[in-house]
């Protein structure tokens, strides 16, 4: 009975070559996928007979410490299916243009010899303009020649710059880290031109605002290998198996090394399967749970037993000991409000301190008096270096300090502080211990931020007030019993969790971490949810530790070689001050979504204050006027004309030009575009999309995009709500439609954005170009490489923008010859002295102060452009780079390396200066690698040397061992390389150590880039005090009845219908919209992007598994199939982010039989106003770093079953 066949008769086995032949291939090339998945995986692309046949993961990552599991292999089901795209019928092989437009263009070109005149003729004919706008998205594409379309595009560029201003040319491309040169091609062109780059990380709601709030940092997190160092891991709103696919094994492997894993998710999902405990928390209520966890930890580990390690940590690394002034509450005599941090210059000892408004006080145990430690923002930007550090020392006299964390024992009295429990809306009054400080203006009661925490969390410590009697007090915020009604989770669960967490942290020195993601970050109050968890981490000493910290993974924001990259990408090497726009404000205002918004006060709970009462759009106007946020276009006239007018009026120097314009602005002679976004002179006009899906998966409020930007059909039926509620934004009775003159999409596939654009240019894919890729999930830098040349007529993004630059330059010789001054309006900037601009909220637009650029309002910078030299400059690394690079306040000298690039590599002479040539992407890659501290150890050493002077700390040892390290593009092609310790990142990686954020701060005493230089429990910006968010707190999600998504659609609904909260987590079969349209992923799922529903909810609606359903609200409609499962909780539905509306999507019976949309058809954005504040420590703008985010989780929809005969394609 043997089935075994030996090789006795080899002929009978010669057929086995059948499969051996299939395995053969000709070439293997290393590349990766640039898709904002955070994977950054190294792939071997197999080529046979010139055709890419498949991809397999590379396994050759340089090893980490042997005590950590290795990284190999990295890659997922989506990445490994990528090769399908290359030759698929979805591939954009040639340039395409809408027939209506190209007919108009050819006609106009016949009539006008000059392309710019031809474009003008079309734009000046309202009928013609509307005709091609209405045709957007409705078929009728024609293949065209590259040359013809480049000419059209260049004409639109020149016409727009000349007629309206270059800041009407905008571009959207997300997440440079995923293919940084492809991003840089477009941004370099736009910034040389004077155009605008739209942000993405905040727009995607991937930015966690709690990170800048607390740490002054966009996002900084552990690489996934560091999860293995954690001994207690809480996974919150992050489906590791689904979205961190190549990293998930570290979590599994940690479990087998004795780590406890607790998963919080409303649905039983892929990662819940791993959990020791799955906590089926109500959707969006994680903040309430963490508030209660902190209550227990404060009570049991800080009060009942003062855990030495925790107390020491909080003293050194947080604002816990800093003194907060208590302000009498005029409305409630006897009560106080928690006010701002007590400024050092308010007491006699420090009255003359430089930047004294920006230095802060602790109560020093040794001297028994308030004293000022170094490390604050005021020390950072003062003249004398060396005081910006976390040493417990008064830098004015070097005296050692011992901060008093709580005033409880040495209190001079108590004060009742008024607090609001936003869940119930109840005001409560709780006593805190106080001391009195003699200030220059009188005696002021103060307490510490740490003492305020006890009051806020309801840990009474024997003090009077509305403190809960014990943890079982259900009304007492924020007890384990209190959280039950919000989370649906028992108090016993909270107690076990809190005790295990804190005792693990104590036993391991802070090896507890939170892995958190979009499931928590996409809610309106996401900053509070995150902050609640971060406070727990801070109180247990878990931040800045390997195995500890908040590990937020939503979006591949980490571009490791940021300093040289941003120089190239933003054309700073040519002296450009870039125009960088926060997309949430842009789309809210220009996209007219504000018109449908009744304002945040109608659906959120805040303190009652003039600042909190005003409409969100008005707050955005205030934010632009105050220099808190950017806004482009800047003003109704071309900024080229503004500069020219200033020159005509006698301005000679850039400073005089800026002063002239500032005078016109202050006198209200030059209004700001933000005040009237619907006036045609303020519209954005030309829209470039590349590397992204700007019109659907990146278009929250997609139907409003179709309506107001595109001017084509749409399915929104919402009623306008802002009229009469806005005072600072002009109201036009008729909302404009079709603001955009031209939409150009660079794409390798016919996605929804391509389908709706005017022009689609065939872009090379990730196996067809040279590029660089980094991520925060690991610490390697990866190449993209060309396994084949760009297929058919496609070109790389870098080369396409180079070609656009060339043609635009050519047309400029006639229309915009010679040097031009452009006046660029920019907001106050993080990591600069602008962080000390404003101590109070004042609006010069309302006469509350004078407009002083850079102080009370935006800065004005003159940029010298030459439109005839766009192409030359694009291709040369300009002399600005030689002068040095800077990032995060750290400066790097690079002149010798710049000269070496010019001498050893290709070079080019521009304006008489010999520059390194970067016209081809591999050259640009080498320039980045040669000048980045992360890939050139000498530059890292120089950066640490700079930081040594700034901090007075010894730091260069961190790069000493890597000083000789250099990496080139070809090195990366042979093997991924690990980054070097860098002063612009906060984690340390030497010796195979895994990266964990803020270990540099905790181990070496470098301050965080915040007000006090410490991690902040307390946020004392007046806007935060007004919004009741100065202390960590809980706010419930906006209710659907008032949020404004359901009014008309609920009235129109017939038959069985339910209101469900629509959750759109990242999915299993796509990365955003990419891969979701491949045959492979569709086959492994349901052939569509279904809606997941609870079985009981479905039964109520008569919906069975795989039935068609219509999902709708006032914003739009989606028609898809249902998946029915008890794993989804009731009252919630899920549509995984992000379907295309191009794949088998039927028409909507409820919207008159028009084609139904995608998940972004069902939402529109609301902005959270306190996230707009600026000019104040860590609350100071930086692109993708700070500002309101594009929240979308609070959306509700109506769901109904469709009969099969209602389904029409």
């Amino acid at each position: 009975m043997s089935w075994i066949k030996d090789i006795v008769d080899p002929e009978t086995r010669s057929w086995e070559d059948f499969y051996r032949n299939r395995w053969q291939h000709d070439r293997v090339v290393r590349s990766t996928h640039g898709v904002n998945c955070t994977g950054g995986c190294s792939w071997n692309i197999h080529v046979k007979d010139g055709i890419v046949t498949w991809e397999m993961q590379a396994l050759d990552y340089p090893a980490l410490d042997a005590k950590l599991p290795p990284y190999e292999p990295r890659g997922c089901q989506r990445g490994i299916s990528y090769s399908w795209y290359l030759y698929s019928p979805l591939r954009v092989k040639y340039p395409y243009v809408r027939g209506v437009l190209i007919d108009l263009w050819r006609q106009a070109r016949r009539e006008h010899d000059d392309p710019v005149a031809a474009w003008a003729a079309i734009q000046n004919d309202p009928h013609a303009r509307a005709s091609y706008q209405r045709a957007r998205g409705k078929g009728g594409f024609r293949r065209a020649r590259w040359e013809e379309l480049l000419e059209l595009i260049a004409a639109a560029n020149i016409y727009t710059a000349k007629t309206h201003g270059p800041d009407r040319v905008v571009g959207f491309s997300p997440i440079p880290a995923m293919s940084m040169l492809s991003y840089a091609g477009g941004s370099r062109f736009l910034q040389l031109f004077g155009g605008v780059n739209l942000s993405f990380y905040d727009w995607y709601c991937d930015l966690p605002p709690a990170s800048p709030e607390i740490w002054g940092e966009q996002t900084d997190v552990a690489e996934s290998a560091d999860w293995y160092n954690s001994k207690f891991t809480a996974v919150v709103g992050s489906n590791l198996a689904m979205t961190r696919t190549p990293d998930c094994h570290f979590a599994a492997e940690a479990r087998h090394n004795g780590t406890k894993l607790v998963v919080f998710a409303p649905d039983f999902n892929m990662v819940a399967k791993y959990a020791d405990q799955w906590i089926p928390i109500h959707a969006g209520q994680d903040g309430a749970f963490w508030m209660a966890v902190t209550h227990v930890i404060l009570d049991e580990f800080h009060h009942q037993r003062s855990t030495a390690a925790f107390v020491d940590y909080v003293k050194r690394y947080t604002d816990g000991p800093f003194l907060v002034a208590l302000e009498p509450d005029p409305a409630h005599p006897g009560d106080y409000g928690a006010g701002q941090l007590l400024r050092a210059n308010r007491i006699a000892r420090y009255a003359g301190a430089e930047n004294g408004d920006w230095k802060f006080l602790i109560w020093d145990k040794l001297s028994g008096a308030p004293r000022m430690p170094g490390g604050s923002v005021g020390h950072r930007w003062q003249q004398a270096p060396g005081a910006w550090n976390l040493e417990l020392r008064d830098p004015t006299d070097g005296a050692a300090l011992d901060p008093t964390l709580s005033l409880l024992d040495g209190r001079e009295g108590t004060a009742a502080v008024r607090l609001v429990e936003f869940g119930s809306g109840r005001a409560i009054s709780r006593a805190v211990p106080v001391r009195y400080v003699e200030t220059l203006t009188g005696r002021v009661p103060v307490t510490t931020a740490y003492d305020l925490l006890f009051a806020q969390y309801g840990v009474g410590r024997g003090l009077p007030g509305d403190y809960p009697a014990n943890g079982d007090d259900e009304d007492g915020a924020y007890t384990p019993a209190w959280q039950e009604k919000w989370t649906g989770i028992s108090r016993a669960t909270v107690l076990q969790f809190a005790r295990e967490w804190a005792s693990t942290a104590e036993a391991t020195g802070g090896r507890c971490c939170i892995i958190i993601g979009a499931g928590a970050n996409h809610w309106f109050h996401n900053n509070l949810i995150y902050r609640a968890g971060i406070v727990t981490l801070m109180l247990t000493g878990c931040v800045g530790k390997n195995g500890g910290g908040l590990n937020h993974y939503v979006g591949q924001e980490k571009l490791a070689p940021m300093a040289p990259w941003s120089t190239i990408a933003l054309a700073k090497d040519w002296g450009v001050t870039p125009r960088l726009q926060n997309a949430p404000s842009f789309h809210y205002l220009h996209g007219d979504q504000w018109r449908y918004d009744a304002g945040h006060a109608s659906y959120t709970t805040t303190g009652d204050d003039p600042f909190t009462r005003e409409h969100t759009a008005d707050t955005n106007v205030r934010a632009v006027r105050a220099g808190w946020l950017p806004f482009y276009p800047q003003w109704p006239e071309s900024p080229l004309e503004t500069a020219a007018a200033a020159a005509r009026a006698g301005a000679r120097t850039p400073a005089e030009v800026a002063a002239q314009a500032a005078g016109r602005i202050a006198a209200r002679k030059l209004p700001l575009s933000v005040e009237d976004p619907d006036a045609p002179q303020n519209w954005p006009r030309v829209f470039y999309i590349w590397r992204g899906n700007a019109l659907l998966s990146s278009a929250k409020g997609h139907e409003y995009f179709l309506n107001h930007y595109l001017g084509t059909h749409h399915n929104d039926i919402a009623e306008e709500a802002a009229k009469g509620r806005v005072t600072e934004v002009a109201w036009h009775e008729q909302a404009p439609t079709g603001k955009m003159d031209l939409i150009v999409d660079l794409n390798f596939r016919m996605d929804t954005s391509a389908l709706y654009s005017d022009i689609v240019l065939p872009a090379a894919s990730w196996y067809e170009k040279a590029d660089l890729n980094t991520t925060d999930m690991h610490s390697y830098i990866h190449p993209l490489s060309a396994a084949t040349p760009p297929v058919w007529e496609s070109r790389t993004d870098w080369d396409i923008f180079k070609a656009i630059a060339k043609e635009t330059s050519a047309q400029a010789t006639r229309h915009l010859p010679g040097p031009r001054s452009d006046l660029v309006m920019v907001p106050l900037a993080h990591d600069s002295p602008d962080e000390m601009a404003q101590t109070a909220i004042r609006d010069w637009g309302r006469g509350e102060c004078a407009y002083v650029p850079g102080k009370t309002g935006p800065k004005l910078a003159v940029v010298e452009r030459d439109y005839t030299k766009l192409y030359e400059r694009f291709c040369a690394l300009g002399p600005g780079a030689r002068a040095g690079l800077a990032l995060h306040g750290v400066k790097f000298e690079v002149a010798d390396f710049y000269d070496r690039l010019a001498a050893d590599g290709p070079s080019i002479e521009v304006d008489g200066v010999r520059c390194p040539e970067i016209g081809d992407a591999p050259e640009a890659a080498n320039a980045i690698l040669a000048l980045a501290p992360e890939t050139n150890g000498e530059i890292a050493w120089r950066g640490f040397s700079f930081l040594e002077k700034k901090t007075g700390l010894r730091l260069t040892d961190l790069a000493e061992g890597a000083r000789q390290a250099r990496v080139s593009y070809t090195d990366l092609q042979s093997q991924p390389r690990r980054i070097i310790n860098s002063p612009i990142w906060s984690g340390l990686v030497d010796g195979g150590r895994s990266y964990s954020a803020f270990t540099l701060n905790v181990e070496r005493g470098v301050p965080w880039r915040t007000l006090t230089g410490r991690q902040h429990f307390y946020l004392d910006h007046p806007g935060y005090i007004a919004h009741g968010e100065n202390l960590p707190t809980y706010k419930p999600s906006p209710r659907p009845e008032v949020y404004g998504d359901l009014g008309l659609s609920q009235k129109a609904a017939t038959g069985p219908t339910k209101v469900l909260n629509l959750l759109t987590p990242h999915g299993k079969w796509h990365i955003h919209s990419t891969y979701g349209d491949t045959l492979r992923m569709m086959t492994l799922s349901r052939g569509c992007s279904p809606i997941w529903m609870n079985d009981a909810d479905a039964a109520e609606l008569g919906i069975g598994d795989n039935d068609w359903v219509e999902v709708h609200n006032d914003n739009g409609v989606m028609v898809t199939r249902a998946i029915v499962s008890a794993r989804i909780p009731r009252d919630v539905c899920m549509i995984y982010h992000a379907p295309e509306r191009t794949l088998n999507v039927p028409r909507s019976p409820l919207r008159g039989g028009r084609r139904a949309g995608g998940h972004n058809s069902l939402n529109r954005i609301r902005l959270k106003p306190n996230l707009m504040v600026g000019g104040y420590g860590q609350f100071t703008y930086h692109f993708n770093y700070w500002g309101p985010t594009g929240v979308n989780r609070d959306t509700h929809v109506l769901v109904r079953r469709l009969d099969p005969d209602e389904v029409k394609f």
Binding site: I7, P10, Y19, K231, N257, M270, Y274, D276, S490, S1125
Partner: protein, 496 residues
């Protein structure tokens, strides 16, 4: 003793993330062509669930594998004597509805659609008929669908549970799912080989890989019927059946199979096991509750000098014997008894093994709130959401003790490592947990290292084949060196 060498795999299901990367890796290389669209040599199933093809485990329906009648093994599908008589009658063959009708989309219409008053789309169309299709089945239709009243509830393994236990599967306190990746089991007693009237299937002597000769296959499809795992597929375009080849072209050159290579959960281990082919019949005929033990007896310990000597005598290369001694499969299967075969009761002696998963503890409702608290740090295995009886149906022919022992050991290792790295368990408690699990600190350390820290080379311990010896049987390797790849002078060519 008739010693044979077998390439064998362990799937550590506790680490499986259900990503399906393995499935796509396999499909890209082997079944990305006409007639093979629906072939998923590697697939991943959500359990509880019905799998692919639908309800494949239900042998009352499919009649795959073997049964024992009067102490003799017989194929359930035909029986060896009835085989010839019924050669034209194959009533238990899965039909397309048990798989799915493959489809694509008219993507090109997004480019070519004429101007109209609404947005064009790419319609779904059948890959068989080219006509628009209503998609109602797929190869992974019940993915993540634990808790589906339709799919999970129709899992044949749920018969092991009481009605009350079954009802709870759809309650929040107990709802659960996990993943089961499946390829051909490269059985020692393969029903597909036994059933083939053409003798097209065989088990390779040097590595135990079961292959299907593409020249000899005559489309009888009895392999499809008789394989209880439904891991042979009929190619409707060229009329040949095909199956997983364990990537022998890669293995022969020292590379891991594509599914293994791409396993991003790092759940897979590949190693050599030596076994005694003389025991196949007795092991496959053992009573159900002894099937696991019988198969373990059949697998030999290569570190035993007598076994090694016998293996050498049987012509097994020293490199293979050396690799067998370092085999991660040997450790998980024979040394630690943590990895178990899938559905041993099918009696094909599957040579791939699964470490069963730990699962989150069940919860309790406490009034309006859900209580997830547990009396100890990691919860107890008997409080896991999925009853052990279910897992025993999958991995131990119903012998729950085998599954419990594996899970207990895994949990003891976790507590041991907790004590080593945090120190909050207590040395005495750890010692007693290890003793109860029948393990030692040394073994626990080894289990931990191979579970958490293995490098690729520690998970993949297969020596490259001596292909020069195989080739030499046909032609001189030097001649081969000069001529290989010239398809025109070699047959068969590159493929149909």
């Amino acid at each position: 003793m008739n010693i044979r060498s077998q390439v064998s795999m362990v799937f550590h299901l506790d680490k499986c993330i259900g990503c399906h990367t393995c499935s796509v890796a396999c499909k890209n290389v082997w079944t990305d062509r006409k007639g093979a669209e629906y072939m998923w040599w590697n697939n991943v199933e959500t359990k509880p669930g019905t799998g692919y093809p639908s309800a494949w485990e239900d042998q009352r329906e499919y009649q795959g594998g073997w049964d024992v009648s009067s102490g003799r093994l017989r194929l359930r599908s035909t029986g060896q004597l009835r085989g010839l008589a019924n050669i034209f009658h194959n009533p238990r063959l899965p039909v397309i509805d048990d798989y799915y009708e493959p489809w694509t989309y008219r993507y090109d219409e997004l480019f070519s659609a004429p101007a109209s008053d609404d947005q064009p789309i790419a319609r779904a169309v059948s890959l068989i008929t080219g006509e628009p299709i209503d998609i109602e089945a797929g190869p992974n239709w019940d993915d993540d669908l634990g808790g589906s009243p339709i799919y999970a509830a129709n899992d044949p393994n749920l018969e092991a549970l009481t009605p009350a236990q079954r009802a709870q599967m759809f309650e929040i306190e107990r709802l659960v799912f996990f993943y089961l990746p499946r390829i051909c089991n490269h059985c020692s007693n393969p029903a597909c080989v036994a059933a083939c009237p053409s003798g097209a299937l065989y088990k390779r002597g040097e590595d135990g890989i079961v292959v299907l000769n593409q020249e000899r296959c005559r489309a009888w499809r009895h392999c499809v019927t008789s394989c209880p795992y439904k891991k042979t597929y009929f190619n409707w375009a060229n009329g040949k059946s095909e199956k997983c080849i364990l990537c022998y072209p890669r293995l022969e050159s020292g590379q891991a199979p594509a599914c293994f290579h791409s396993c991003v959960g790092r759940i897979r281990y590949l190693g050599i096991v030596l076994y005694d082919a003389d025991q196949i019949e007795s092991a496959a005929s053992a009573p159900e509750d002894q099937l696991i033990d019988a198969q373990l007896r059949m697998i030999l310990d290569p570190r035993d000098p007598e076994v090694a000597a016998a293996a050498r005598a049987a012509g097994i290369d020293q490199s293979v014997i050396d690799a067998a001694c370092r085999s991660p499969v040997l450790h998980f299967v024979k040394d630690w008894k943590m990895a178990l075969p899938l559905h041993a009761e099918f009696r094909t002696l599957p040579m791939l093994f699964y470490v069963p998963p730990l699962l989150p503890v069940l919860g309790n409702r406490d009034g309006d709130s859900y209580d997830a608290s547990t009396p100890n740090l990691f919860g107890a295995i008997d409080d896991a959401r999925l009853p052990i009886e279910y897992m025993a149906r999958l991995f131990a022919a119903g012998n729950a003790g085998k599954v419990r022992a594996a899970l207990k050991k895994m949990m003891a290792v976790r507590y041991y490592r907790r004590q080593e790295t945090v120190g909050d368990i207590g040395a005495e408690r750890v010692a007693s947990l290890l003793a109860e699990a029948g393990t030692s600190r040394e073994e626990a350390e080894a289990i931990y290292r191979l579970t958490s820290l293995p490098t690729f080379e520690e998970r993949f311990v297969i020596p490259p084949a001596h292909r020069e010896e195989a080739i030499e049987a046909l032609e001189g390797p030097l001649e081969f060196k000069g001529a290989t790849g010239f398809g025109i002078i070699r047959t068969p060519e590159r493929g149909p």
